[in-house]
Point group: C2
Chain length 103, copies 2
Amino acid sequence: MNFKGTLPTLILEALEQEPSHGYRIAQRIKERSHGVLDFKEGTLYPALHKLDNEGLVESFEGIEKGRPRRYYRITESGHGILAKDRAEWRELSRAVTLILGEA
Amino acid sequence: MNFKGTLPTLILEALEQEPSHGYRIAQRIKERSHGVLDFKEGTLYPALHKLDNEGLVESFEGIEKGRPRRYYRITESGHGILAKDRAEWRELSRAVTLILGEA
DNA sequence: TCCTATGCATAGGATAGCGAGGTATACATG
DNA sequence: CATGTATACCTCGCTATCCTATGCATAGGA
């Protein structure tokens, strides 16, 4: 079960905490939502690459447990977009909740 | 600005209040969200027809101000789906808010 | 008379997310 | 040693959603 349009924001939020790699980001989102949000790899990696192309995150090579990993960190503009996305989420979720009833 | 995936639920909610026609439903959503949510006609009508095909709403002819209107009312199964959609919205919005911070 | 709002509808295009598949390594279990 | 599972990355094709643009038609105000 997932929420259309929130994935880029959730990725940026994860990277705001600490640089990470794709698989770990997906796990983090799932864990932090208590299993409610569960984005698939076929969704996550393209989204991550898109954020990279847009310059909101940047990647670097890393080694973990003896194996190479593709790490990502949030950029300056990524921080800015995240702040905007957060504000937009609040506005939209309030609007829907207003209509559908209390969350 | 809009929220992907919430339109069918918002339509059902509007029709739960009273039977209505397409144009009026769109206005209602916009008004009740204080202008935040604003689904276009090219989005609304196909969504309405789909709900009709799925049997969640049913249409009937009506006259308003001397002109024919296509009215819709929510069906029994529409009520059921609306209840499920509401619950799902709460679960998902809570999950995202949990991660992104207080709404 | 012309513009705007109302009212319904479809066509074409963009994008998000999903399922399915492919590749590869580490580690535990049998 | 073999097999399975979790980790880790990636791509392709499909569907659904939403948008813009366009068309048609009427009512009422400027």
